[in-house]
């Protein structure tokens, strides 16, 4: 927080000369002010794939069930539900009071219409996998059937039959993609089923959400949420500093200056950051090389210096806050061991590792530090920067050796950090970007998907996570700590486990807290 004296003098001088007229934001206790880094391209549940979009969709639409702030699953359109013993049949009794923001009842037919829309071939949704386990969903998606066999609606009841047991099915239903849009309404949030509706939208500028007056849940503590779209970190900070935002996620580059700020709220995010290694690459296919890379990188030091300690070292893919997570043994920083492993693997001296990243200053800092550590172990590397669209295409096509990337939880379940990331059927765009392929792991991952008993599930997840970690398909980095600044006038803020859980239902504003 040190400012140079000259600057302070200059400011003092300018302030004396011209002072007085300060710009003060208007403060009213009915509106919560937030900032997002980008404008959600769409609010259509069938199309939304990004974090900001998930956030927005969860405000205006809800599905049969919804995430609570802590990540557990609670009722939404469905007041209660039962699951058959074999885990294949789900029966949802809808809340008879559920209405959309135009005051029209939301019933079983709306649920079926939304699910059909997600799966319909002409919708071309990228998220059909959310409902893929429903019986007959695949045939319907391919256009081979007119109806989804496992999905039936009666008065006030939706029944779903799965083609195979999926322990995480309820979590999938809580995802924004399974949210329900009133049949016949435009999926733009103006006629909402969730706690909020879009009141005003100026693209790239701001979005105002007002309470949905007909929402059957308890009324939110504020009347409005005003969201500004602020792409530059520097601008977001300026808006916060001038008292125009009530909650701000602290950009990592700014974390130092807010340390010790009493308004800081932190939590370990359900996010894993890693350097993925292409296990199909001739050199990287040797687990000794991959382990050597893990031993060569001084993760603790990068974590301490680049992230200022704001992260928990990853000893597996599953974050420690989830069942089965955090059980692996960290790779010790051991340059000699790394060199030895490389020798054993007969890695040619000319070998050069390409490290790919998106052009963000943070990613550059991490990879430049990784590069320096690798150099110390005699591993030559080059950094390649591509914008996100180009980078993702290269990674998904398997054209990249190593890439710095992260994984955000879709739902708070260890399965979400294992099946998409390491099952061979998900190689490429499915999430398995290390192109990891092991038959025994695949079989156990299948078993994990089916296992409903929480304890057995946690044990299985832990065993898988530890085994895969030892095989080192990634350079395991960390689970970042997310820090939010929450202004004094905000009451009842709790960080959410997943973006879809952040619905601002319990937040209230105090009139006297204005700065």
């Amino acid at each position: 927080m040190s400012r140079s004296r000259a600057v302070r003098l200059l400011v003092l001088f300018a302030g004396l000369a011209l002072g007085g007229c300060q710009a003060t934001p208007d403060r009213d206790v009915s509106t919560l002010h937030l900032a997002w880094s980008s404008d959600p391209a769409t609010l259509d549940p069938a199309k939304v794939v990004d974090v900001v979009g998930a956030n927005a969709v969860s405000l205006v639409y809800q599905g049969l069930v919804a995430f609570r702030a802590d990540g557990t699953i609670g009722p939404a359109l469905a007041a209660r539900w039962t699951v058959s013993d074999d885990g294949l049949r789900y029966r949802f009794e809808l809340d008879p009071a559920a209405k959309d923001s135009a005051g029209r009842p939301v019933g079983a037919a709306d649920v079926v219409a939304s699910f059909r829309r997600l799966l319909a071939p002409e919708t071309a949704s990228p998220r059909t996998w959310v409902l893929e386990t429903i019986e007959g969903a695949e045939a319907f998606r391919r256009g081979e059937a007119d109806t989804i066999r496992g999905l039936t609606a009666e008065e006030g009841v939706v029944t779903i039959t799965l083609s195979r047991p999926a322990a995480a099915f309820l979590a999938l239903l809580a995802m924004p993609n399974a949210a329900v849009v009133p049949a016949g309404a435009e999926p733009d949030g103006t006629i909402a089923t969730g706690p909020w509706r879009v009141e005003e939208r100026v693209r790239d500028s701001h979005l105002t959400f007002a309470r949905n007056p007909h929402w059957s849940g308890p009324a939110p503590g504020v009347e409005r949420i005003a969201v500004r779209i602020l792409p530059e970190e520097f601008t977001r900070i300026a808006e916060w500093e001038t008292g125009r935002l009530d909650v701000l996620e602290v950009p990592s580059s700014q974390a130092d200056r807010f340390q010790g700020d009493p308004r800081l709220v932190r939590q370990v995010a359900l996010v894993t950051e890693y350097v993925g290694l292409n296990t199909e690459d001739p050199v990287l296919s040797d687990p000794r090389v991959r382990r050597a890379l893990n031993h060569a990188v001084n993760v603790d030091r990068i974590l301490a210096k680049v992230l200022g300690g704001r992260g928990v070292r990853a000893v597996g893919a599953v974050p420690p806050t989830l069942p089965g997570g955090g059980a692996g043994e960290p790779f010790e920083h051991d340059v000699a061991l790394a060199r030895r492993l490389l020798d054993e693997a007969n890695v040619p001296d000319s070998w050069e590792l390409e490290l790919w990243q998106r052009p963000s200053p943070f990613a550059s800092q991490v990879l430049e530090a990784v590069q320096a550590d690798l150099a110390e172990a005699g591993i030559r590397s080059v950094i390649r920067r591509r914008d996100w669209s180009a980078l993702k295409a290269s990674i998904d096509a398997g054209d990249t050796d190593a890439f710095f990337i992260n994984w955000y939880a879709d739902y708070p379940d260890p399965e979400n950090f294992l099946v998409p990331l390491f099952h061979s059927r998900n190689i490429g765009g499915g999430g398995n970007r290390a192109r990891y392929r092991r038959a025994d792991v695949d079989a156990d991952l299948d078993r994990l998907e089916r296992t409903a008993d929480p304890e057995a599930r946690a044990r299985l997840a832990e065993d898988l996570d530890v085994r895969i970690h030892a095989d080192a398909p990634w350079i395991y980095l960390w689970h970042p700590v997310q820090e939010s600044l929450v202004s004094d006038r905000v009451d009842g803020y709790r960080p959410s486990a997943v973006p879809a859980a952040e619905r601002w239902l319990d937040v209230r504003l105090r009139g006297d807290g204005s700065r």
């Binding site: 200053p361 590069q371 950094i383 914008d387």
Partner: protein, 285 residues
């Protein structure tokens, strides 16, 4: 050329510009001897304030900002000069040809120039740099392409003027082959506006590169142009201003001195024009 030299000596402001520019070029050339390794850094020395050991402080990787700034001079000035040279060569040759030959060649070349002139240049730059393997060569080509149309227009009108002159007409009438006339008589007469356009354009090109770097599309790390350094340092502006302030200062200083020099060159060589520095398309540089 002597006129330029006289002008530079006579005008104190131009003199200052030249001295500053020479100092920067010298620093860039000698960076290898006078500055420590711009890539060597220790995270333990991250964001250290300016001190005797690190006169400009250190950046987020603990690297010496002074030595990175000096090496940055190489990259920024080098890119500016070379890319502009590309523009001037391509635009110059095409413009000469179009202006001298006229007819179909003229139409084709000038309509193409119109297309590039009308195309929003920063978008063209972003597009080109995003489309191909990022790197210095790509930057040079991209920045070069963006500038050629303007040069071509300039040179074409000059070439047309020279073509109408009596001695060129006489040479044509005598049956002297046109490439020879072009080379011997027309080209030398177009040299002055080319030189002016070159000096003026270098500054614009350096600014354009810095805009690209600001968007992460310029020089690739760990190498750093000034623009890339300012961009990486902007997030520390309030906590460690030295990371971006020094390269930013150098950037402004070098562009400033190039503009001063450009003014002097123009005043000396091209007294007919009163145009200041109209800048180019894409003022967001």
């Amino acid at each position: 050329m002597n006129r330029v030299g006289r002008r530079l000596r006579a005008d104190p402001v131009a003199r200052i510009g030249t001295v500053v520019l020479l100092a920067l070029v010298l620093a860039a050339a000698l960076a290898g001897w006078i500055a420590p390794d711009p890539l060597a850094g220790s995270l333990d020395e991250r964001l250290a304030a300016p001190s005797w050991h690190h006169p400009f402080g250190t950046d987020h990787q603990g690297r010496d900002v002074l030595s990175r700034t000096l090496y940055g001079a190489r990259l920024s000035l080098g890119i500016g000069l070379t890319a502009r040279l590309v523009s001037v060569l391509v635009g110059g040759i095409l413009g000469l040809f179009a202006g001298f030959r006229g007819g179909l060649a003229d139409s084709v070349i000038m309509r193409t120039a119109d297309v590039f002139f009308a195309f929003p240049s920063l978008l063209l730059l972003i597009g080109i740099t995003a489309a191909f393997e990022p790197g210095i060569t790509l930057l040079l080509v991209a920045l070069g392409i963006v500038g050629w149309a303007e040069v071509a227009r300039l040179v074409r009108s000059e070439a047309m003027r020279v073509r109408e002159s009596e001695y060129v007409q006489a040479a044509l009438a005598l049956g002297v082959p046109w490439p020879r006339i072009l080379w011997r008589h027309v080209a030398p007469n177009c040299l002055n506006p080319l030189l002016v356009s070159f000096t003026m354009g270098v500054a614009t090109t350096i600014l354009a590169e810095s805009s690209l770097s600001f968007l992460g599309l310029g020089a690739q790390p760990p190498a750093a142009s000034w623009g890339a350094m300012v961009s990486a340092g902007k997030d520390y502006l309030t906590s460690a201003p030295w990371v971006s302030v020094f390269p930013g200062l150098m950037l402004a200083l070098s562009v400033l001195s190039l503009n001063l020099l450009g003014d002097a060159v123009r005043d000396a060589l091209d007294p007919r024009t009163v145009i200041g520095n109209p800048g180019e398309r894409g003022e967001d540089a």
